[in-house]
Symmetry: none
């Protein structure tokens, strides 16, 4: 089976057209009561409804039917990378999520501060969930660790969690977790699963040896365990696979990081959607493709706050006139997955997705919603094909075969 990018690499053509992809994180929803509307159906979205009359919509399946994605696979799908083929390891995703941009020689590791008793057995795998301020100070101490030939980064995450990144040529990432997943036993030694990862295991072992000394006098967080050793994922970049100069306009580090992994340029320091759109307007001439990420449709869904998610969708709707003023050749509105308030979590439900261009085939839908998407001209489709549709509608994809 030909890989999508084998096709797009061969077929992409140059064009002056612009593609704007507006991602409302966790956009899809569910009724909160039987026969009620979803969040998107309850929201007043005059702008999206107007666009729906010009465009074509459908239901985007993030991974496969029934499969709920995390943010990593959800966005990889939207970006056109098969989320079952490309996997972002746990350590790499954690580093990405705190805004650490991985280098090709990096191995990132998720760490938990833990409590050891005097025999060296774990009594608390999370060191009493120490507050972030406390763990941040410990992280600063750990930055004193020195291993010749290896650059080391230690970054705080939240509470008892931190990230360690080892940077040196030739480090493999097949190293087993040192967290034994139980108490009353000692942490495991880092064990490598192949030859290329032996150096990583040795470096990790030395790091842990020094950390044990540095943390020895701590009452709670007197050691740490390591999980999810992961290299930077090998994702071919946007300019190479699509011929697109791409920019990401996001607020949160995770989404900036995911965009960076596929070669997008990360722009500005917007902290609101309105600032994001202002930035889009400023840089519009300089890129071919724009990924604009809006977080709050997801976080309100995770809070189980139906009314608040409705409001956030209305806030999202309100910026579209400004985007339409830019006249992008292709405008896409979608989400990386559904986050129904009813479930208070990510879900597997398809995501209503709208594509507007001068050569999409209108489908008679007069509003944008989960129910409309079922009548839409894009049908049900796997998210990984969205970029092919975007390129085709942008006049940026040539003919396959003669």
């Amino acid at each position: 089976m030909t890989d999508i990018h084998t096709l797009t690499r061969e077929l992409h053509t140059s064009h002056s057209s612009k593609i704007v992809m507006m991602v409302a994180d966790g956009l899809g929803g569910l009724p909160i009561e039987p026969h009620g509307p979803t969040e998107l159906e309850a929201a007043k979205t005059p702008n999206l409804d107007r666009l729906a009359r010009r465009g074509v919509q459908g239901s985007s399946i993030p991974v496969l039917p029934g499969i709920t994605p995390g943010s990593g696979p959800g966005h990889l799908g939207l970006f056109g990378y098969d989320p079952l083929q490309y996997v972002i390891g746990r350590g790499a995703l954690e580093a990405t999520g705190i805004g650490f941009h991985l280098d090709e020689h990096d191995v990132a590791v998720r760490c938990n501060f833990c409590t050891l008793d005097s025999d060296g057995n774990i009594t608390d795998r999370r060191a009493g969930r120490i507050p972030t301020e406390e763990s941040t100070k410990l992280v600063e101490k750990l930055r004193g660790i020195d291993i010749p030939g290896v650059e080391i980064f230690v970054e705080p995450v939240k509470e008892h969690r931190c990230v360690v990144v080892f940077r040196a040529p030739g480090l493999g990432d097949r190293v087993a977790d040192t967290d034994p997943q139980e108490t009353g036993v000692p942490p495991l030694e880092p064990a490598s699963e192949d030859e290329a990862s032996r150096k990583t295991a040795e470096v990790a072992s030395e790091f842990l040896r020094q950390a044990r000394q540095i943390l020895a006098d701590q009452p709670r967080a007197n050691f740490l365990t390591m999980r999810g050793f992961a290299e930077k994922p090998k994702l071919p970049p946007y300019d190479e696979v699509y011929g697109l100069k791409a920019a990401a306009i996001a607020v949160y580090p995770m989404y900036k990081g995911l965009a960076k992994l596929v070669g997008m340029e990360i722009l500005g320091k917007a902290s609101t959607l309105e600032e994001q759109i202002a930035l889009l307007e400023q840089v519009y001439d300089q890129y071919d493709f724009f990924f604009v990420h809006f977080k709050y449709t997801d976080s309100t869904g995770e809070d189980g706050n139906f009314a608040e998610k409705v409001q956030r969708i209305e806030q999202f709707d309100a910026v579209f006139p400004r985007i339409e003023q830019l006249k992008p050749e292709v405008l896409i509105v979608t989400g990386d997955h559904s986050t129904p308030s009813y479930l208070r979590s990510h879900s597997w439900h398809p995501v209503p997705t709208l594509l507007v261009s001068d050569c999409c085939r209108p489908d008679g839908c007069d509003s944008f919603s989960e129910r409309s998407a079922l009548q839409g001209g894009l049908g049900h489709f796997e998210a990984k094909y969205l970029m092919c549709l975007a390129l085709a509608n942008a006049g940026r994809l040539g003919k396959y075969g003669a």
Copy 2:
């Protein structure tokens, strides 16, 4: 993943049922103005609409979402051959397009007459686009080339183009193009990329040596370059994969050629759709499957002539009463891709597709169109599955597993 034909080979059963596949090339379209109808929606199609009430329709995706196929991949999909798995090389498609039926020992090459200066450098890669009458005469001269052990065919195409076919056992097709894609440099020597192709490269080299002598005194077309070396594609034939004795009733050489590549028998010399249907009536008892190809819905679309494409669809509609008289167990109406007049080219848009049988599940649609297809019982499906649906509805496909 199990190949479609592994399944159909195992499951096909014999039956006296008939399948008629009516292909209107480039059938799918777009509105020519906002909110207007597509060509198919604008056309008066009382017969197709009547059939739509009996049948089931859907949207056929030729290759993958967003991917625009050429005629080769478009037809392979309809014939049930995954167009990403089976590729017809450029030379083989060019030969097929002019009605040259390739043999299993053939390697076909697309050639361009070109102009060399006295130093042997290319000054014009297309020899001034010499008229077809002139290149036809040069082709006749080139037929004098003799290489022991190799049968050689030289056929004119259009203007500066021709096809050369080398026929001998053991010829590989991994030979690089000799066209350097620029002027001011000499043509490249044919270079083989593997051992099996070395003989082909040697034959091509000797062909070019003799051609240079033959063409030496020509003012413009004093040499030729070679591109797209390609064997006959290895497509398992219809009788073997489906148990069908299949016939093709087409007007244009390209479609006869594509049908021949999958083992269909090419019938008659019809030059109009009405003659094609008359031929279908004559031979109806002698085959299980009929592919009837109608070209003008594509060519009018490529001309950007919406009104003419509408008329051609109406001409196509008018023959269905005669086909219904034959009472085929399965009647399919589809296209190999869309060719919207609005785009004046092939496109990626799904193709409205109708299947009528006594055991299809009607879907409540009362007309045949792109919009109806969105409500249809076949949903969105990849064209490569259409033959499985045809066989199933024809009672020609057994149960998978017990």
